[in-house]
């Protein structure tokens, strides 16, 4: 008897009423979208659970897809059988036999259908006894079992399943409004995007492109990174902002030591404008405190003061090492470390101000035609829509 469905759990405890059903509907919708490439797979919601019916599809690839759906707390491959004691016992025994390396187990029965003639306690004993008599190697341990055999009796059908596979947690993407991620080609910003997605936001991304100072490869790399994020975030719209003129102007008119501060201020202003035009409620950056010159508190003050929109910094509590671990886990690391110049490195001053002064920054900036530069950058923005799933291949050879 093979598992024929997956039982999904989600974090519903904190939610009530209308929120809860919205949350659930969004989650089911996201799961359906995620599994749309598997013909025959059906997703349904019942009794505060979500079921994925495999209909002969392989389990592993589906679990892998589900592990990228935020809002899911755990999965259990389950067997559905008719609500008859004999069938329940057989399924439970098989579950124990298929779980390699376990020494102890416990049966946890739940009888949602009180018409079923055997009570939960009694069912625990009958199923447990059946397993013990046929599988002499395992013992019962009610406190710390290696395997918990769950039995749920619901109407015509019952479900038998084992230990929980932990899910990614978080909130369903799309349940918390829209944000704009400042996406460079580095390791940090894709992770920041991932962390924001985990809190249920809908993600759009902004990239500043300074051709010919940064290459087409650098832009492609950012597109690839955004593409990877669609695995977690669904559809992602990427704005590629032409930044060459602004960078040359800064280089021409401002102190070299303030060029990074002024550049970041320009990026924030443009991002805020793009956010406003596209109904996004916050910016997200990959900044973490005190790593590099532009990430000291003084620097953040000098940069942040030019916008009123909230700026979320999901990596603030993380070490570089932790960030890299997440980047590797979500698959952005390999792309992030490709060695192309980005706009933050190409004009890197020899001695950037680590504690820039806000007033000096403002004075420096006053030498630029701010409004025109920002206006032109926003107007010249290229929009690239990235869809989840296999990205469209450039070459039609294969």
């Amino acid at each position: 008897m093979k598992s024929n469905l997956i039982l999904l759990r989600y974090g519903e405890l904190a939610l009530k009423g209308k929120n809860k059903s919205e949350f659930e509907d969004r989650l089911v919708q996201n799961i359906r979208q995620k599994l749309s490439g598997f013909p025959g797979v059906a997703v349904s919601k019942a009794h505060g659970r979500i079921f994925v019916e495999l209909n002969d599809q392989e389990m592993d690839p589906i679990i892998r897809e589900l592990s990228e759906v935020f809002g899911l707390v755990g999965f259990s491959p389950a067997i559905r059988i008719r609500s008859e004691l004999g069938e329940i016992q057989k399924a439970a025994l098989e579950l124990v036999e298929q779980s390699s390396g376990i020494r102890t187990f416990k049966v946890i029965s739940k009888r949602a259908d009180k018409k079923f003639p055997i009570g939960s306690q009694e069912l625990n004993h009958r199923v447990g006894g059946y397993i013990l008599s046929r599988c002499p190697k395992v013992k019962v341990d009610v406190h710390h079992p290696d395997l918990s055999v769950h039995v749920e009796v619901r109407g015509t059908y019952s479900y038998v399943y084992g230990n929980d596979i932990p899910g990614p947690g978080g909130l369903p993407v799309g349940s918390s409004g829209r944000v704009m991620l400042l996406l460079s080609g580095g390791i940090d910003s894709p992770v920041a995007g991932y962390m924001a997605l985990k809190r249920g936001v809908e993600l759009q991304a902004i990239h500043f492109h300074s051709y010919p100072f940064t290459s087409e490869r650098a832009k492609q790399k950012v597109i690839d990174l955004a593409q990877i994020l669609t695995r977690f975030g669904g559809r992602i719209r990427l704005y590629v902002v032409p930044f060459t003129e602004i960078q040359t102007e800064i280089n021409k008119h401002c102190y070299e030591s303030y060029s990074i501060t002024v550049m970041r201020r320009m990026m924030f202003r443009i991002s805020e404008e793009l956010a406003k035009r596209n109904q996004a409620l916050a910016l997200v950056t990959g900044e973490s405190l005190g790593q590099v010159a532009s990430q000291t508190l003084e620097s953040m003050n000098a940069i942040n003061e030019v916008v009123r929109i909230p700026v979320l910094r999901p990596l603030i509590g993380m070490d570089k090492h932790e960030i890299m671990t997440v980047a590797k886990k979500i698959g952005t690391y390999e792309t992030s470390i490709l060695p192309y110049e980005d706009c933050c490195t190409v004009f890197l001053p020899k001695a950037p101000k680590t504690k820039p002064d806000r007033e000096v920054a403002a004075k420096q900036e006053a030498r630029l035609e701010l409004e025109r530069l920002i206006q032109e950058a926003v107007e010249g923005t290229e929009v690239i829509d990235l869809e989840p799933g296999q990205k469209e291949d450039e070459f039609s050879y294969f």
């Binding site: 290459s215 490869r217 050879y397 294969f398």
Partner: protein
């Protein structure tokens, strides 16, 4: 012409030739060049890498293009051992490996490595128990081929991988050249660390292959230079060849189910046609549907040299092989057949019939009919005692 030497090499599929020609004409940039032409060639290489990775169920980062199966095998083995520096001194392989693995082990033996060559049973199969028994504290690498190139026997790779997974210090290398894109084998699922493939066995071009290197595993390169393939294999990428490999994989994906079903059926019919009529005749290797690659068939006719058989069939327009193509010019009995317990005479008198995607039922029937006609004649000439 009836070409039944597809385990030596396959005729290139016309669509593969078309793709390669087009790439040669239009995408000639060096993938390392910074400009747009270079970037375009690089993107083509990366798209081909994705196609290859998809076939192996791995990530594109785990695929490294090489000049073919031989280089992939050399890189897997030497690249691993060169990184080990004194940590362990023992390596394991089988007596039936392809020369591009076997000879590397021979070379390493001369350099001071302790080598265990595992025996095989009469069907050419290594026993997973024996593999595990051979592992000791100093073992660092085990190489076992997936499908034997001479007889088609499938090795229990999944089981061996499961056993070796218990020894995290031991890396598992699989030469999958004869099975790639035909029989399913996913390296991650079989606990394989290194897996070699080649294009020209699946109707792709010669001169291109790849090595799967499990994530987080680092090898010492054989070729150093411009740092291509993340430094593991320097040398300007053979862009048309890489495109040809990817195209061949896509075509194989479409054809393989039917190919396996047909070749299984035709092989069975072939043997039934010959059954009992050509004695002494020995079928080498496993011929059960689950134990062998259905597209390879090895027969021994004791008393008749394989070279004579190959030429006799060639006269009838049928092209088959004596042993594997790489060793077939030497007048020595097949090492593989000897390892399976065949006598010198049996091992010298063997031919290999191997099917490709272009093979038809009629071709196999005709080959059987020709054997029925030619073999008794040769047996008479060579005064072979009828069994």
């Amino acid at each position: 012409m009836i070409y039944l030497d597809n385990s030596a090499t396959t005729p290139m599929h016309p669509e593969v030739i078309d793709v390669m020609t087009d790439v040669m004409k239009k995408i000639f940039g060096n993938p390392s060049s910074l400009h747009g032409l270079g970037a375009k060639a690089e993107r083509l290489v990366e798209q081909a890498r994705q196609v290859t990775a998809r076939m192996l169920g791995c990530t594109p980062q785990e695929i490294f293009f090489t000049s073919g199966g031989t280089e992939a095998n050399n890189l897997a083995i030497k690249g691993t051992l060169d990184r080990i520096h004194g940590r362990g001194k023992h390596i394991i392989t089988t007596k039936v490996e392809h020369p591009s693995v076997y000879e590397v082990y021979e070379q390493l033996k001369k350099r001071g490595w302790r080598v265990t060559y595992l025996s095989v049973d009469s069907l050419g199969r290594v026993n997973p128990d024996e593999v595990e028994k051979a592992v000791d504290d100093e073992t660092v690498l085990v190489s076992v081929m997936h499908v034997n190139n001479e007889v088609g026997t499938i090795q229990p790779i999944g089981e061996i991988g499961k056993r070796l997974a218990k020894y995290p210090k031991v890396l598992f290398h699989v030469d999958a050249v004869q099975s790639f894109a035909k029989l399913p084998l996913l390296p991650a699922r079989a606990h394989i660390d290194l897996l070699s493939i080649s294009a020209h066995k699946i109707h792709g071009p010669k001169g291109i292959g790849a090595l799967y290197v499990r994530k987080n595993l680092s090898l010492e390169p054989l070729l150093v230079g411009g740092g291509q393939e993340k430094g593991l294999r320097s040398g300007t990428e053979y862009v048309p060849g890489i495109a040809g490999l990817a195209k061949a994989i896509v075509l194989a994906e479409q054809k393989r189910t039917e190919f396996l079903r047909n070749s299984q059926r035709w092989k069975k019919a072939f043997l039934e046609r010959l059954d009992g009529k050509l004695s002494p005749m020995i079928v080498n290797g496993d011929i059960s549907p689950e134990g062998c690659a259905p597209y390879i068939l090895s027969l021994s006719f004791p008393g008749i040299k394989s070279e004579v058989l190959v030429h006799a069939l060639e006269e009838e327009g049928i092209y088959v092989s004596s042993k594997s193509a790489c060793s077939s010019k030497a007048e020595i009995p097949s090492r593989v057949l000897k390892a399976m317990g065949r006598t010198d005479e049996e091992a010298i008198g063997s031919i290999r019939i191997s099917m490709g995607f272009q093979t038809t039922a009629e071709e196999m029937e005709r080959c059987a009919d020709v054997l029925l006609r030619v073999i008794p004649r040769l047996q008479k000439v060579m005064k072979v005692h009828k069994g």
